[in-house]
């Protein structure tokens, strides 16, 4: 097709431009054609399940038969379910530890990595490698490192004169060990984000601070740290969202045990749906978790807006 023909077709049909050319020239037609695969697939697997999930949460639903409408019974059950309350408490403990530990170690590591040194490529690879390691592999590696009987960490502890620990097999330690594993797995991601932000800070700002007589330490806290505010806010939100959904490592290492000490809320939900086949109750939990995440995110963003300094 020559340019002249197409141009005429595109302008709405002088001469030989075919019916299809003219149709396709309309933004309405072409736009919907372009988005239709996405609309069908996201509609079917993204949007429809959100609504359907809400409907199921008002049903007694065993996954096999069509559900029976029971109104708010699942939500009422939830309010008086001590196991659910306990799983929420564990999730909060996990999140309150995981997010700040990851955040502060990532900031420190990013500052250490943000310089030109021989061997820097190696250091950075070491920090980033866990990001591409699967959660299952991470879980397996750590359950061996922290094995109470033959694990090497207990060997080190003994050499240092300490007693062997139960780690994942000790109800009072298991959840904290899960925090450790997931911090190792997520650190690289947070470091990448901080590094990108640090490198976006103009060098002149730091140099100006140093000329004014500030030490490196003071210059970091007075210049770089405030400028990292938006990044920190993003990471707090993002890490919290993911912490509240922690599942993989717990499933592989502890199966929620010992004595349910690592049964966080999403693990509890999974049990309800796929071990006890109470899909109605599971989706009710899922919706409550979702609303919790949403509320927490809004609070974090509102607080962040007050605390965080944005460069214009």
């Amino acid at each position: 097709m020559t340019s002249a023909e197409n141009e005429r077709g595109g302008r709405g049909g002088l001469g030989r431009a075919s019916f299809w050319d003219r149709l396709f020239a309309s933004d309405h037609v072409a736009g919907w054609l372009f988005v239709s695969p996405a609309v069908v697939l996201i509609g079917l697997f993204g949007a429809a399940p959100i609504v359907w999930s809400l409907i199921i949460s008002f049903q007694r639903n065993s996954l096999d038969t069509s559900g029976v409408w029971i109104g708010l019974a699942n939500y009422r059950h939830l309010m008086h379910d001590p196991a659910f309350a306990a799983s929420v408490r564990r999730t909060i403990v996990y999140t309150v530890l995981f997010v700040p530990i990851t955040l502060f170690s990532a900031m420190a590591v990013a500052v250490a990595l943000n310089r030109r040194l021989h061997g820097m490529r190696f250091y950075r690879t070491a920090v980033f490698a866990p990001v591409v390691t699967s959660t299952v592999a991470t879980a397996i590696m750590f359950s061996w490192l922290l094995d109470p009987y033959f694990g090497i960490i207990n060997l080190f502890l003994n050499k240092l004169g300490g007693p062997s620990q139960g780690f994942f097999q000790d109800p009072s330690q298991a959840l904290y060990c899960i925090v450790l594993v997931t911090v190792w797995g997520w650190l690289g991601f947070a470091v990448v984000i901080y590094l990108a932000a640090l490198q976006g800070i103009p060098r002149e700002l730091l140099e100006a601070a140093e000329i004014d007589g500030a030490t490196r330490w003071r210059a970091f806290w007075r210049v770089q740290f405030p400028l990292l505010g938006p990044t920190t806010l993003f990471l707090v939100v993002w890490l919290s969202i993911n912490a509240l959904q922690e599942f993989d490592e717990i499933y592989v290492i502890t199966h929620g045990g010992p004595l349910a000490s690592t049964t966080v809320v999403v693990y509890y939900l999974f049990q309800q749906a796929f071990a006890f086949f109470d899909a109605g109750y599971a989706t009710a939990i899922a919706y409550v978790v979702f609303l919790g995440i949403l509320a927490l995110t809004v609070v974090q963003l509102l607080l962040g807006r007050k605390l965080v300094h944005y460069r214009s």
Partner: protein, 305 residues
């Protein structure tokens, strides 16, 4: 959610994303650097960085060491080093890792390609064309982006079952063929592109698809790499969805297979470690080869916030 705020976020994301284009993530010395003249100049920072690297790499180190141990060594408390390959041979013959590698590759490659094509189409239309329902559609996609998988996993399973796909590889692909993340990401990037080039191409007679794939896409390498790499990483390492939808061993992904292998051989740690090494090598190898792109993609993902 007001459209104003969205536009603000968009422009913030755009300006932030623009700055990643110049990210220096290698961190090595450039030939011209002053410090490079003093090669191996000592720095106190190594005293911080070496322990850090040791902590981060030790799990990998011990994984590999154990994978070469004998069973007897692993069951004697202490530091043992051996070098015998048969754990790898045993693991490979005792479970269909080759099959699982094939399944995972097939699913991941399909999902990545489908995302690149369909998210580009949708992102381009949402960014450039004024069609009826454009704004509403974008809001729906944003909403699905924010909903955690746990909320939708039960109905998604029911939908996949009513399509007759439970326990098949297409069940692993279907829900991820077009991700809201990909559409969102690419829409934002298309909006940062100057529209003049496309208009010129259209005037020169290129059709809409031709404009998109021949004129626009070649300048979209960075965002396409981001969507491709993030999708690959998620699909390759995904665990919860395969766990729910796959039952028979022949349809396992690598991660699911590794989990079941560990469950079946959990007293034989050297064997499990050999299997773990084997399942992680493909992604780690891609990461080492394309580290710059991986890091860039992760950074871009962060900056969309």
């Amino acid at each position: 959610m007001g459209d104003d705020r969205q536009t603000q976020q968009v422009s913030a994301a755009v300006s932030a994303a623009g700055s990643t284009g110049t990210l220096e993530l290698g961190g090595g010395l450039r030939p011209g650097d002053l410090a490079a003249k003093r090669r191996w100049a000592p720095s106190w920072w190594h005293l911080v960085l070496i322990p850090l690297a040791v902590v981060m790499l030790f799990p990998f180190f011990w994984l590999v060491v154990t994978s070469f141990q004998t069973l007897a060594q692993s069951r004697t408390f202490g530091l043992h080093f051996a070098f015998q390959w048969h754990n790898y041979v045993d693991a490979w013959t005792q479970a269909p890792f080759g099959r699982w590698l094939f399944n995972t590759t097939l699913v991941s490659v399909t999902v990545v390609i489908s995302n690149l094509v369909f998210c580009s189409l949708a992102g381009y239309a949402l960014a450039r064309m004024r069609f009826f329902g454009n704004g509403a559609l974008f809001l729906v996609i944003l909403a699905t982006l924010m909903v955690p998988f746990q909320v939708v996993m039960v109905p998604t399973l029911l939908i996949v079952r009513s399509l007759g796909l439970v326990d098949t590889l297409p069940a692993l692909m279907a829900p991820n063929l077009v991700t809201p993340f990909g559409v969102f990401m690419l829409r934002q990037f298309f909006r940062t592109m100057p529209v003049e080039i496309e208009e010129a191409a259209r005037i020169d007679g290129a059709g809409r698809l031709g404009t998109l794939f021949k004129v626009v896409m070649p300048s979209m390498r960075a965002p396409l790499a981001t969507v491709g790499i993030m999708t690959l990483l998620w699909t390759w390492n995904d665990f919860l969805w395969p766990l729910i939808v796959i039952q028979s061993e022949k349809n396992y992904t690598l991660q699911l297979g590794l989990m079941s292998f560990q469950g079946a051989h959990n007293i034989n740690w050297p064997l499990v470690m050999a299997a773990t090494v084997m399942t992680q090598i493909p992604m780690l190898a891609i990461f080492v080869l394309a580290q710059r792109w991986f890091v860039q993609s992760l950074a871009t993902q962060g900056l969309k916030g």
